[in-house]
């Protein structure tokens, strides 16, 4: 049963207006019924106080099974009853509780059967908000002037967090969210939690002390401070000077993660990084690791790629050399040069033979002359000339041979430079298969235990395959 389930009764009695006017004059005995008096009171109050604001502390607060809220508003020396109907109550973003200071908007209404008046509330807002807002604005201005919000002060997070310090309550959703994200994204995360109270009296100091303690833990290199969502008052500790200054003065990179996306506290302004939620803070810490993993993967790809290109270029160069000076080509060249040499030798022989023939002819004619003419007298002279002739012949022969040798040498040197063996002198090696019939170009053509021959600049190595990669 609710008070307001009972109807307000009785329309305004006409008699009510009359006595008010007469009161100024000589007192006149006019006896009211209780109902009349109450009706007059109701009229006075309801007409005068139909739209008022009142601030006070809630007590005896209770929601009846009709869904309406009944409570008492009080301050140091007075109290007034209040009611808030379900329809209005539903629109509130917070739950009114005993002890909460509120500002209520509504009208005064009189309940005749009990001779009581109360406030019918249209709207409630947490009281003292105005004062809090003022404190917030003043502190914000002061800290800004000190330069604590400067972008220059912001540090970057460590590339790879070794230990992640978390300063928050163990009871809230925040710590679970953080652990969940770290577990999912960074299996080997090392987390050190400093439990603190995050709302209520003394919470700000607790947070400041928690920060001071956690930065002393060896190896901690990044800190997350925060809590889950709540009302402006719930988050208030993160707007208090002692906590905000502790965050600003934190010697390690620090992320603030207070409430939800839309909640902004002074802690967010002084932290190195502001995370919209505790989960997001964990993501930020981990994002750096992901970034590095993919960066290293990309670098490795490029590393292998460059080596692959290099090998590819070397291989095609070797193939080109092979084609130009490979065995078939070399044989061709050799044959050509051989023919050339053969021709030269033939020419040489011809020339020598011709010379010899000419000399022979001369010799024969001389001999004839000698026999025909005075033999003894001419013999000495002839012999001298003959010897000289022979000497000349030998010299011609030697000169000719020398020139030919030089040409042959040059030809061979050119041939040499085209040979794959010359490449060996530059540090490459050639790997042959077991019976030395083919060059090995593909490691997969071999298996473990196969014999191969490796030709280097000087000599060869007989090798056995130990591994194929």
């Amino acid at each position: 049963m609710s008070l307001f389930d009972l109807p307000f009764e009785e329309p305004e009695p006409e008699a009510a207006a009359e006595p008010t006017r007469t009161r100024a004059r000589a007192p006149e005995r006019r006896v009211h019924t209780v109902s009349e008096l109450t009706a007059r009171i109701r009229t006075l109050l309801e007409e005068e106080l139909f739209e008022i604001w009142v601030e006070g502390e809630i007590s005896n607060c209770r929601v009846w099974n009709t869904g309406h809220l009944y409570f008492t508003l009080k301050d140091g020396s007075a109290q007034v009853k209040g009611v808030m109907f379900r329809s209005a109550l539903r629109l509130l973003k917070f739950t009114p509780k005993d002890g909460l200071r509120v500002v209520a908007r509504g009208r005064v209404s009189v309940y005749d059967p009990k001779g009581e008046y109360q406030i019918v509330c249209e709207h409630l807002e947490p009281g003292g908000l105005g004062a809090l807002q003022l404190a917030y604005d003043q502190l914000k201005e002061r800290l800004a002037k000190e330069g604590l919000f400067d972008a220059r002060r912001k540090r970057t997070l460590p590339a790879l967090p070794r230990k992640i310090g978390v300063v928050t309550s163990l009871d809230g959703a925040a710590i679970r969210d953080i652990i969940k994200v770290l577990r999912r994204r960074y299996a080997n995360a090392h987390v050190v939690i400093r439990p603190v109270r995050v709302q209520g009296e003394g919470a700000a100091l607790d947070i400041a002390r928690g920060l001071a303690a956690i930065v002393k833990v060896k190896g901690v290199d990044v800190v997350i401070v925060g809590r889950g969502g709540g009302s402006m008052e719930d988050l208030w500790a993160f707007n208090e000077e002692v906590a905000v200054r502790a965050i600003a003065g934190c010697p390690l990179p620090i992320i603030s993660a207070v409430g939800h996306e839309t909640d902004v506290t002074l802690a967010d302004f002084v932290a190195d990084l502001r995370a919209p939620t505790p989960s997001a803070a964990a993501e930020m810490v981990v994002a750096r690791k992901d970034e590095f993993v993919s960066r290293i993967d990309r670098l490795e790809g490029r590393l292998d790629g460059s080596m692959h290109n290099r090998r590819h270029r070397l291989e095609s160069r070797l193939r080109a050399l092979d084609a130009r000076a490979g065995l078939g080509g070399a044989r061709g060249r050799l044959a050509m040069h051989g023919r050339h040499v053969g021709e030269l030798s033939h020419e040489l022989r011809q020339a020598i033979r011709a010379r010899i023939a000419a000399r022979e002819r001369k010799y024969q004619s001389l001999r004839l002359a000698l026999e025909t003419f005075d033999l003894r007298r001419r013999l000495g002279g002839l012999r001298t000339r003959l010897v000289a002739g022979d000497g000349h012949l030998a010299a011609v022969r030697a000169r000719r041979r020398h020139a030919l040798d030089a040409r042959l040498g040059a030809a061979l040197a050119r041939l040499e430079s085209l040979s794959p063996l010359a490449v060996l002198a530059r540090g490459y090696a050639v790997c042959w298969n077991g019976d030395r019939t083919q060059i090995v170009r593909d490691a997969s053509a071999l298996s473990i235990g196969d014999q191969v021959t490796v030709t280097v600049q000087r000599g060869e190595l007989a090798c056995e395959v130990k591994d194929v990669r």
Binding site: R176, H190, P195, R310
Partner: protein, 84 residues
């Protein structure tokens, strides 16, 4: 290659980047590029090792400044409904 001339993780990444760039610019003698490649592989292994090095552990720092293991309720995976 000289194993521990690597200062830290970030230095290793920076050097790896330099090595890759040098290799990609090409035209190094074969021996030099082989040496750089080996150095690069060494650096990337170092980086991976660092990435995997951190321990998986969750601890509570208590009022006295001592570290103790976190309660299981906090770290169990399927505890999302657990509100207190």
């Amino acid at each position: 290659m000289s194993a521990d001339t690597i200062k830290d993780f970030e230095a290793a990444i920076a050097e790896l980047e330099a090595v890759v760039k040098k290799l990609e610019e090409g035209d190094l003698p074969l021996e030099e590029s082989l040496r750089l490649y080996e150095r690069g592989v060494h650096l990337s292994r170092f980086c991976h090792a660092q990435l995997e090095e951190a321990e998986r552990r969750i601890e509570i720092l208590n009022e006295r400044g001592h570290l103790q293991p976190a309660p299981a309720t906090l770290t169990s995976e399927d505890d999302s409904q657990g509100k207190r």
